[in-house]
Amino acid sequence: MVMGLTAQDITERLSIYLSGVAGCSVNVGNAQKLSGGAIQENWAVDADVSSGDWAGQHKLVMRCDAPSGVATSHTRAEEFALLKAAHEVGVEVPIPCFVCEETDVLGRRFFIMHRVSGIAAGHKLVRQEISKGLGRELGKNLARIHSIDPLQDGLAFLGQPPEYPALSAITTYFKYLDVLEQAHPAIEWGLNWLSDHAPEPVKPVLCHRDYRTGNYMVDAGKLTAVLDWEFAGWSDPTEDIAWFCAKCWRFGANEREGGGVTSREEFYQGYEEESGHTLDRDGIYYWEVMAHVRWAVIACQQAARHVSGEERSLELALTAHVVPELELEILRLTERTNA
Protein backbone atom coordinates (compact mmCIF):
# COMPACT_ATOMS: atom_id res chain seq x y z
CA MET A 1 0.00 0.00 0.00
CA VAL A 2 1.43 3.34 -1.07
CA MET A 3 0.68 6.29 1.16
CA GLY A 4 -1.05 9.43 -0.08
CA LEU A 5 1.18 12.27 -1.25
CA THR A 6 0.83 15.78 0.12
CA ALA A 7 1.62 18.98 -1.75
CA GLN A 8 4.57 19.47 0.60
CA ASP A 9 5.98 15.99 -0.11
CA ILE A 10 5.84 16.72 -3.78
CA THR A 11 7.45 20.16 -3.74
CA GLU A 12 10.25 19.03 -1.41
CA ARG A 13 11.10 15.76 -3.08
CA LEU A 14 10.72 17.02 -6.64
CA SER A 15 12.94 20.03 -5.87
CA ILE A 16 15.74 17.71 -4.77
CA TYR A 17 15.19 15.23 -7.57
CA LEU A 18 14.91 17.84 -10.34
CA SER A 19 17.97 19.70 -9.07
CA GLY A 20 19.88 16.45 -9.55
CA VAL A 21 18.47 15.89 -13.03
CA ALA A 22 19.10 19.47 -14.19
CA GLY A 23 22.48 19.78 -12.48
CA CYS A 24 21.52 23.11 -10.94
CA SER A 25 19.15 24.39 -8.32
CA VAL A 26 15.49 23.78 -9.17
CA ASN A 27 12.78 25.15 -6.96
CA VAL A 28 9.41 23.40 -7.24
CA GLY A 29 6.32 25.10 -5.87
CA ASN A 30 2.53 25.43 -6.08
CA ALA A 31 1.81 21.70 -6.13
CA GLN A 32 -1.89 21.24 -6.69
CA LYS A 33 -3.73 18.02 -7.25
CA LEU A 34 -5.80 18.14 -10.42
CA SER A 35 -9.30 16.70 -10.47
CA GLY A 36 -10.21 13.34 -11.90
CA GLY A 37 -8.17 10.19 -12.16
CA ALA A 38 -9.02 7.20 -9.98
CA ILE A 39 -6.14 5.23 -11.43
CA GLN A 40 -3.63 8.03 -11.91
CA GLU A 41 -2.99 11.24 -10.08
CA ASN A 42 -2.05 14.45 -11.83
CA TRP A 43 -0.41 17.29 -9.96
CA ALA A 44 0.18 20.77 -11.33
CA VAL A 45 3.61 22.07 -10.26
CA ASP A 46 5.69 25.12 -11.11
CA ALA A 47 9.43 24.66 -11.48
CA ASP A 48 11.96 27.45 -11.33
CA VAL A 49 15.23 26.32 -12.88
CA SER A 50 18.20 28.51 -11.92
CA SER A 51 20.51 27.96 -14.90
CA GLY A 52 21.50 25.71 -17.77
CA ASP A 53 19.50 24.57 -20.81
CA TRP A 54 16.20 24.70 -18.96
CA ALA A 55 16.73 27.98 -17.09
CA GLY A 56 13.48 29.78 -16.30
CA GLN A 57 9.95 29.16 -15.10
CA HIS A 58 8.07 26.05 -16.20
CA LYS A 59 4.44 25.11 -15.75
CA LEU A 60 4.39 21.34 -15.44
CA VAL A 61 2.23 18.37 -14.58
CA MET A 62 3.50 15.40 -12.60
CA ARG A 63 1.55 12.24 -13.35
CA CYS A 64 1.85 9.20 -11.10
CA ASP A 65 -0.11 6.11 -10.08
CA ALA A 66 -2.86 6.70 -7.55
CA PRO A 67 -2.44 4.83 -4.24
CA SER A 68 -5.33 2.51 -5.14
CA GLY A 69 -3.97 2.16 -8.66
CA VAL A 70 -5.19 -1.02 -10.29
CA ALA A 71 -2.98 -2.54 -12.92
CA THR A 72 -4.08 -1.09 -16.22
CA SER A 73 -2.85 -1.65 -19.70
CA HIS A 74 0.04 0.83 -19.66
CA THR A 75 2.60 1.88 -17.07
CA ARG A 76 3.59 5.51 -16.68
CA ALA A 77 6.80 4.82 -18.61
CA GLU A 78 4.77 3.37 -21.48
CA GLU A 79 2.42 6.34 -21.46
CA PHE A 80 5.45 8.59 -21.56
CA ALA A 81 6.79 6.72 -24.61
CA LEU A 82 3.40 7.09 -26.32
CA LEU A 83 3.33 10.84 -25.66
CA LYS A 84 6.84 11.14 -27.04
CA ALA A 85 6.01 9.24 -30.21
CA ALA A 86 2.84 11.32 -30.66
CA HIS A 87 4.70 14.57 -30.09
CA GLU A 88 7.29 13.62 -32.68
CA VAL A 89 4.70 13.21 -35.44
CA GLY A 90 3.02 16.50 -34.59
CA VAL A 91 0.07 15.37 -32.48
CA GLU A 92 -1.00 18.07 -30.02
CA VAL A 93 0.01 16.58 -26.68
CA PRO A 94 1.48 17.91 -23.45
CA ILE A 95 5.22 17.82 -24.24
CA PRO A 96 6.71 14.96 -22.22
CA CYS A 97 9.84 15.98 -20.27
CA PHE A 98 11.14 12.89 -18.52
CA VAL A 99 10.09 9.78 -16.72
CA CYS A 100 11.28 8.54 -13.34
CA GLU A 101 11.10 4.79 -12.88
CA GLU A 102 12.62 4.75 -9.43
CA THR A 103 10.11 4.54 -6.64
CA ASP A 104 12.39 6.03 -3.97
CA VAL A 105 11.63 9.61 -5.07
CA LEU A 106 7.86 9.77 -4.61
CA GLY A 107 7.08 6.20 -3.67
CA ARG A 108 5.58 5.68 -7.10
CA ARG A 109 6.76 5.89 -10.68
CA PHE A 110 5.94 9.16 -12.37
CA PHE A 111 6.62 11.34 -15.35
CA ILE A 112 6.68 15.05 -15.95
CA MET A 113 5.12 16.88 -18.86
CA HIS A 114 4.27 20.43 -19.81
CA ARG A 115 1.05 21.88 -18.44
CA VAL A 116 -1.46 22.69 -21.15
CA SER A 117 -4.36 25.06 -20.63
CA GLY A 118 -7.89 24.50 -21.80
CA ILE A 119 -11.10 22.68 -21.09
CA ALA A 120 -11.47 18.93 -21.43
CA ALA A 121 -14.86 18.23 -19.80
CA GLY A 122 -17.16 16.94 -22.53
CA HIS A 123 -20.41 18.33 -21.13
CA LYS A 124 -18.82 21.81 -21.05
CA LEU A 125 -17.20 21.63 -24.49
CA VAL A 126 -20.36 20.70 -26.34
CA ARG A 127 -22.17 23.66 -24.81
CA GLN A 128 -19.58 26.17 -25.95
CA GLU A 129 -19.60 27.99 -29.21
CA ILE A 130 -17.58 25.75 -31.45
CA SER A 131 -14.86 27.40 -33.41
CA LYS A 132 -14.46 26.64 -37.08
CA GLY A 133 -11.61 24.31 -37.73
CA LEU A 134 -11.70 22.35 -34.48
CA GLY A 135 -13.29 19.31 -36.16
CA ARG A 136 -10.74 19.36 -38.92
CA GLU A 137 -7.88 19.63 -36.43
CA LEU A 138 -9.27 16.67 -34.48
CA GLY A 139 -9.36 14.65 -37.70
CA LYS A 140 -5.82 15.65 -38.63
CA ASN A 141 -4.43 14.81 -35.21
CA LEU A 142 -6.01 11.39 -35.29
CA ALA A 143 -4.48 10.73 -38.72
CA ARG A 144 -1.08 11.68 -37.28
CA ILE A 145 -1.50 9.19 -34.44
CA HIS A 146 -2.27 6.50 -37.01
CA SER A 147 0.95 7.35 -38.87
CA ILE A 148 3.11 6.27 -35.92
CA ASP A 149 4.88 2.99 -36.51
CA PRO A 150 4.92 1.21 -33.13
CA LEU A 151 7.63 -1.18 -34.28
CA GLN A 152 9.99 1.69 -35.00
CA ASP A 153 9.11 4.33 -32.46
CA GLY A 154 10.07 2.67 -29.18
CA LEU A 155 6.63 1.21 -28.62
CA ALA A 156 7.55 -2.46 -28.75
CA PHE A 157 5.68 -2.97 -25.46
CA LEU A 158 2.48 -2.85 -27.50
CA GLY A 159 3.30 -6.34 -28.71
CA GLN A 160 2.44 -7.79 -32.07
CA PRO A 161 -0.55 -6.45 -33.96
CA PRO A 162 -3.63 -8.69 -33.97
CA GLU A 163 -4.29 -10.28 -37.33
CA TYR A 164 -7.96 -9.46 -37.15
CA PRO A 165 -8.67 -6.55 -34.75
CA ALA A 166 -12.47 -6.80 -34.95
CA LEU A 167 -12.50 -10.49 -34.07
CA SER A 168 -10.01 -10.15 -31.26
CA ALA A 169 -12.10 -7.32 -29.81
CA ILE A 170 -15.23 -9.50 -29.98
CA THR A 171 -13.44 -12.40 -28.26
CA THR A 172 -12.18 -10.07 -25.53
CA TYR A 173 -15.66 -8.64 -24.84
CA PHE A 174 -17.20 -12.12 -24.66
CA LYS A 175 -14.58 -12.99 -22.06
CA TYR A 176 -15.34 -9.82 -20.09
CA LEU A 177 -19.06 -10.61 -20.13
CA ASP A 178 -18.43 -14.15 -18.95
CA VAL A 179 -17.04 -13.06 -15.59
CA LEU A 180 -19.94 -10.72 -14.81
CA GLU A 181 -22.62 -11.82 -12.39
CA GLN A 182 -25.51 -10.79 -14.62
CA ALA A 183 -26.14 -11.83 -18.21
CA HIS A 184 -26.58 -9.10 -20.82
CA PRO A 185 -28.56 -10.48 -23.76
CA ALA A 186 -28.70 -7.14 -25.63
CA ILE A 187 -24.90 -6.87 -25.57
CA GLU A 188 -24.67 -10.50 -26.70
CA TRP A 189 -26.97 -9.56 -29.55
CA GLY A 190 -24.60 -6.77 -30.52
CA LEU A 191 -21.55 -9.03 -30.33
CA ASN A 192 -23.28 -11.58 -32.49
CA TRP A 193 -24.09 -8.96 -35.09
CA LEU A 194 -20.46 -7.85 -34.98
CA SER A 195 -19.27 -11.42 -35.58
CA ASP A 196 -21.62 -11.79 -38.54
CA HIS A 197 -20.73 -8.45 -40.13
CA ALA A 198 -17.01 -8.27 -39.46
CA PRO A 199 -15.22 -6.36 -42.23
CA GLU A 200 -12.19 -7.64 -44.10
CA PRO A 201 -9.16 -7.07 -41.90
CA VAL A 202 -7.00 -4.06 -42.71
CA LYS A 203 -3.43 -3.38 -41.65
CA PRO A 204 -3.60 -2.51 -37.94
CA VAL A 205 -2.07 0.80 -36.83
CA LEU A 206 -1.37 2.51 -33.54
CA CYS A 207 -4.79 3.56 -32.27
CA HIS A 208 -5.49 5.84 -29.35
CA ARG A 209 -8.54 3.75 -28.42
CA ASP A 210 -10.12 6.47 -26.32
CA TYR A 211 -10.07 9.38 -28.78
CA ARG A 212 -13.26 11.21 -27.93
CA THR A 213 -14.69 14.41 -26.56
CA GLY A 214 -13.73 14.58 -22.88
CA ASN A 215 -10.22 13.27 -23.58
CA TYR A 216 -8.72 16.28 -25.33
CA MET A 217 -8.26 19.89 -24.33
CA VAL A 218 -9.50 22.95 -26.13
CA ASP A 219 -8.33 26.46 -25.36
CA ALA A 220 -9.87 29.49 -27.08
CA GLY A 221 -11.36 27.21 -29.72
CA LYS A 222 -8.08 25.46 -30.52
CA LEU A 223 -7.09 21.88 -29.84
CA THR A 224 -4.27 22.06 -27.30
CA ALA A 225 -3.77 18.46 -26.17
CA VAL A 226 -4.86 14.90 -26.81
CA LEU A 227 -4.97 13.18 -23.41
CA ASP A 228 -5.61 9.77 -21.85
CA TRP A 229 -3.33 7.42 -23.71
CA GLU A 230 -3.72 4.51 -21.34
CA PHE A 231 -5.70 2.37 -23.78
CA ALA A 232 -3.53 3.03 -26.84
CA GLY A 233 -2.73 -0.06 -28.85
CA TRP A 234 -2.91 -1.80 -32.18
CA SER A 235 -6.23 -1.78 -33.96
CA ASP A 236 -8.13 -1.04 -37.13
CA PRO A 237 -7.86 2.76 -37.59
CA THR A 238 -11.61 2.92 -38.20
CA GLU A 239 -12.13 1.99 -34.54
CA ASP A 240 -10.83 5.42 -33.49
CA ILE A 241 -12.89 7.27 -36.12
CA ALA A 242 -16.06 5.51 -35.01
CA TRP A 243 -15.33 5.86 -31.28
CA PHE A 244 -15.05 9.62 -31.79
CA CYS A 245 -18.34 9.87 -33.74
CA ALA A 246 -20.40 7.32 -31.79
CA LYS A 247 -23.59 8.74 -30.34
CA CYS A 248 -22.58 7.72 -26.81
CA TRP A 249 -19.76 10.31 -26.85
CA ARG A 250 -21.68 13.37 -28.01
CA PHE A 251 -22.70 14.47 -24.52
CA GLY A 252 -26.25 15.06 -25.70
CA ALA A 253 -25.26 17.34 -28.62
CA ASN A 254 -26.58 14.75 -31.07
CA GLU A 255 -26.96 17.08 -34.02
CA ARG A 256 -23.16 17.42 -34.17
CA GLU A 257 -22.26 13.86 -34.99
CA GLY A 258 -18.53 14.46 -34.65
CA GLY A 259 -18.21 14.05 -30.89
CA GLY A 260 -20.83 16.73 -30.19
CA VAL A 261 -18.40 19.41 -31.38
CA THR A 262 -18.28 19.11 -35.16
CA SER A 263 -19.93 17.53 -38.17
CA ARG A 264 -18.85 14.10 -39.30
CA GLU A 265 -17.78 15.51 -42.63
CA GLU A 266 -15.48 18.14 -41.19
CA PHE A 267 -13.82 15.55 -38.96
CA TYR A 268 -13.55 13.06 -41.83
CA GLN A 269 -12.11 15.72 -44.15
CA GLY A 270 -9.39 16.64 -41.69
CA TYR A 271 -8.50 12.98 -41.37
CA GLU A 272 -8.54 12.35 -45.10
CA GLU A 273 -6.46 15.45 -45.87
CA GLU A 274 -3.78 14.46 -43.40
CA SER A 275 -3.72 10.72 -44.09
CA GLY A 276 -4.20 10.98 -47.84
CA HIS A 277 -6.73 8.18 -48.01
CA THR A 278 -10.50 8.01 -48.14
CA LEU A 279 -12.41 6.68 -45.17
CA ASP A 280 -14.66 3.67 -45.56
CA ARG A 281 -18.12 4.88 -44.48
CA ASP A 282 -19.58 1.34 -44.05
CA GLY A 283 -16.62 0.39 -41.92
CA ILE A 284 -17.33 3.36 -39.67
CA TYR A 285 -20.91 2.16 -39.17
CA TYR A 286 -19.63 -1.26 -38.14
CA TRP A 287 -17.14 0.18 -35.67
CA GLU A 288 -19.82 2.46 -34.23
CA VAL A 289 -21.77 -0.63 -33.25
CA MET A 290 -18.51 -1.90 -31.75
CA ALA A 291 -18.08 1.41 -29.89
CA HIS A 292 -21.44 1.05 -28.16
CA VAL A 293 -20.75 -2.60 -27.35
CA ARG A 294 -17.30 -1.76 -25.98
CA TRP A 295 -18.58 1.08 -23.80
CA ALA A 296 -21.47 -1.09 -22.59
CA VAL A 297 -19.07 -3.87 -21.58
CA ILE A 298 -16.72 -1.43 -19.82
CA ALA A 299 -19.70 0.23 -18.08
CA CYS A 300 -20.86 -3.19 -16.82
CA GLN A 301 -17.35 -3.86 -15.49
CA GLN A 302 -17.23 -0.50 -13.75
CA ALA A 303 -20.64 -1.10 -12.19
CA ALA A 304 -19.47 -4.52 -11.01
CA ARG A 305 -16.50 -2.91 -9.27
CA HIS A 306 -18.94 -0.90 -7.18
CA VAL A 307 -21.49 -3.65 -6.63
CA SER A 308 -18.89 -6.20 -5.54
CA GLY A 309 -17.55 -3.72 -2.99
CA GLU A 310 -14.13 -3.70 -4.64
CA GLU A 311 -14.35 0.06 -5.07
CA ARG A 312 -17.35 1.92 -3.70
CA SER A 313 -18.06 4.94 -5.88
CA LEU A 314 -21.16 6.83 -6.91
CA GLU A 315 -19.64 7.50 -10.31
CA LEU A 316 -19.08 3.78 -10.93
CA ALA A 317 -22.56 3.02 -9.57
CA LEU A 318 -24.18 5.50 -11.95
CA THR A 319 -22.24 4.08 -14.89
CA ALA A 320 -24.48 0.99 -14.58
CA HIS A 321 -27.37 3.21 -15.55
CA VAL A 322 -25.75 4.23 -18.81
CA VAL A 323 -25.91 0.60 -19.98
CA PRO A 324 -29.63 0.60 -20.94
CA GLU A 325 -29.24 3.47 -23.40
CA LEU A 326 -26.16 1.81 -24.88
CA GLU A 327 -28.12 -1.42 -25.27
CA LEU A 328 -30.95 0.48 -26.91
CA GLU A 329 -28.52 2.08 -29.34
CA ILE A 330 -26.91 -1.28 -30.16
CA LEU A 331 -30.36 -2.66 -30.97
CA ARG A 332 -31.34 0.32 -33.09
CA LEU A 333 -28.09 0.19 -35.04
CA THR A 334 -28.36 -3.54 -35.71
CA GLU A 335 -32.03 -3.62 -36.72
CA ARG A 336 -31.93 -2.28 -40.24
CA THR A 337 -28.99 -4.37 -41.34
CA ASN A 338 -30.24 -7.52 -39.68
CA ALA A 339 -29.22 -10.65 -41.52
Binding site: F174, A183, P185, E188, N192, A317, V322, P324, E325, L328
Partner: protein, 117 residues
Protein backbone atom coordinates in the same frame (compact mmCIF):
# COMPACT_ATOMS: atom_id res chain seq x y z
CA UNK B 1 -51.14 3.30 6.19
CA UNK B 2 -48.08 5.48 5.80
CA UNK B 3 -48.59 9.21 5.93
CA UNK B 4 -48.02 11.48 2.99
CA UNK B 5 -45.71 12.75 1.67
CA UNK B 6 -44.74 9.29 0.50
CA UNK B 7 -41.14 8.17 0.18
CA UNK B 8 -41.17 9.13 -3.47
CA UNK B 9 -42.59 12.57 -2.71
CA UNK B 10 -39.95 13.14 -0.04
CA UNK B 11 -37.21 12.11 -2.38
CA UNK B 12 -38.58 14.45 -5.01
CA UNK B 13 -38.56 17.54 -2.77
CA UNK B 14 -35.19 16.59 -1.28
CA UNK B 15 -33.77 16.41 -4.77
CA UNK B 16 -35.21 19.82 -5.59
CA UNK B 17 -33.49 21.37 -2.56
CA UNK B 18 -30.21 19.71 -3.43
CA UNK B 19 -30.35 20.85 -7.03
CA UNK B 20 -31.71 24.38 -6.62
CA UNK B 21 -30.39 25.51 -3.24
CA UNK B 22 -27.30 23.52 -2.34
CA UNK B 23 -25.59 22.83 -5.64
CA UNK B 24 -25.13 26.46 -6.79
CA UNK B 25 -23.02 27.26 -3.69
CA UNK B 26 -20.59 24.40 -4.14
CA UNK B 27 -17.10 24.32 -5.63
CA UNK B 28 -17.01 22.93 -9.18
CA UNK B 29 -15.73 19.55 -8.04
CA UNK B 30 -18.31 19.19 -5.26
CA UNK B 31 -20.99 20.45 -7.65
CA UNK B 32 -20.22 17.50 -9.88
CA UNK B 33 -20.68 15.18 -6.89
CA UNK B 34 -23.97 16.89 -6.01
CA UNK B 35 -25.26 16.52 -9.55
CA UNK B 36 -24.40 12.83 -9.45
CA UNK B 37 -26.34 12.52 -6.18
CA UNK B 38 -29.31 14.31 -7.74
CA UNK B 39 -29.12 12.00 -10.74
CA UNK B 40 -29.03 8.92 -8.51
CA UNK B 41 -32.07 10.22 -6.61
CA UNK B 42 -33.94 10.78 -9.86
CA UNK B 43 -33.29 7.19 -10.95
CA UNK B 44 -34.52 5.85 -7.61
CA UNK B 45 -37.61 8.04 -7.88
CA UNK B 46 -38.48 6.74 -11.33
CA UNK B 47 -37.92 3.16 -10.17
CA UNK B 48 -40.30 3.77 -7.25
CA UNK B 49 -42.89 5.13 -9.63
CA UNK B 50 -42.76 2.14 -11.98
CA UNK B 51 -42.59 -0.30 -9.10
CA UNK B 52 -42.20 -3.94 -10.07
CA UNK B 53 -44.23 -3.68 -13.27
CA UNK B 54 -41.20 -3.39 -15.57
CA UNK B 55 -39.58 -6.45 -14.02
CA UNK B 56 -42.84 -8.42 -14.35
CA UNK B 57 -43.25 -7.45 -18.00
CA UNK B 58 -39.65 -8.40 -18.73
CA UNK B 59 -40.07 -11.79 -17.08
CA UNK B 60 -43.26 -12.52 -19.00
CA UNK B 61 -41.77 -11.52 -22.34
CA UNK B 62 -38.64 -13.58 -21.75
CA UNK B 63 -40.67 -16.58 -20.57
CA UNK B 64 -42.77 -16.37 -23.68
CA UNK B 65 -39.95 -16.34 -26.23
CA UNK B 66 -37.86 -18.87 -24.34
CA UNK B 67 -40.76 -21.23 -23.61
CA UNK B 68 -39.66 -21.69 -20.02
CA UNK B 69 -40.26 -20.36 -16.52
CA UNK B 70 -37.71 -18.97 -14.11
CA UNK B 71 -36.53 -15.85 -12.33
CA UNK B 72 -35.27 -12.88 -14.32
CA UNK B 73 -31.64 -13.72 -13.78
CA UNK B 74 -32.05 -17.28 -15.08
CA UNK B 75 -34.13 -16.17 -18.04
CA UNK B 76 -31.66 -13.48 -19.04
CA UNK B 77 -28.79 -15.98 -18.76
CA UNK B 78 -30.68 -18.45 -20.93
CA UNK B 79 -31.49 -15.83 -23.57
CA UNK B 80 -27.88 -14.62 -23.60
CA UNK B 81 -26.71 -18.21 -24.15
CA UNK B 82 -29.16 -18.82 -26.94
CA UNK B 83 -28.13 -15.62 -28.70
CA UNK B 84 -24.48 -16.50 -28.41
CA UNK B 85 -24.93 -20.08 -29.57
CA UNK B 86 -27.45 -19.87 -32.33
CA UNK B 87 -30.63 -17.86 -31.88
CA UNK B 88 -29.20 -14.63 -33.28
CA UNK B 89 -30.94 -12.40 -35.77
CA UNK B 90 -34.43 -13.49 -34.73
CA UNK B 91 -36.81 -10.49 -35.10
CA UNK B 92 -38.96 -11.66 -32.17
CA UNK B 93 -35.87 -11.70 -29.96
CA UNK B 94 -34.91 -8.25 -31.20
CA UNK B 95 -38.38 -6.95 -30.33
CA UNK B 96 -38.21 -8.27 -26.76
CA UNK B 97 -34.71 -6.91 -26.20
CA UNK B 98 -35.77 -3.57 -27.63
CA UNK B 99 -38.87 -3.30 -25.42
CA UNK B 100 -36.86 -4.22 -22.33
CA UNK B 101 -34.18 -1.66 -23.21
CA UNK B 102 -36.80 1.08 -23.72
CA UNK B 103 -38.38 0.28 -20.34
CA UNK B 104 -34.98 0.42 -18.64
CA UNK B 105 -34.01 3.71 -20.33
CA UNK B 106 -37.35 5.16 -19.20
CA UNK B 107 -36.02 4.69 -15.66
CA UNK B 108 -32.33 5.39 -16.16
CA UNK B 109 -32.47 8.35 -18.55
CA UNK B 110 -35.90 9.17 -20.06
CA UNK B 111 -34.45 12.19 -21.84
CA UNK B 112 -32.65 9.76 -24.13
CA UNK B 113 -36.01 8.55 -25.39
CA UNK B 114 -37.50 11.97 -25.96
CA UNK B 115 -34.36 13.42 -27.54
CA UNK B 116 -34.67 11.58 -30.82
CA UNK B 117 -38.18 10.22 -31.28
Amino acid sequence: MRDRPSGAELLDIAREVLRDKITPDLSPERRYDALMVANAMAIVLRQMETGEQGQKDERQALSRILGMEGDLETLNRELANRIRFGDAGNPATWKVLHDVAVAKVAESNPRYLSADE
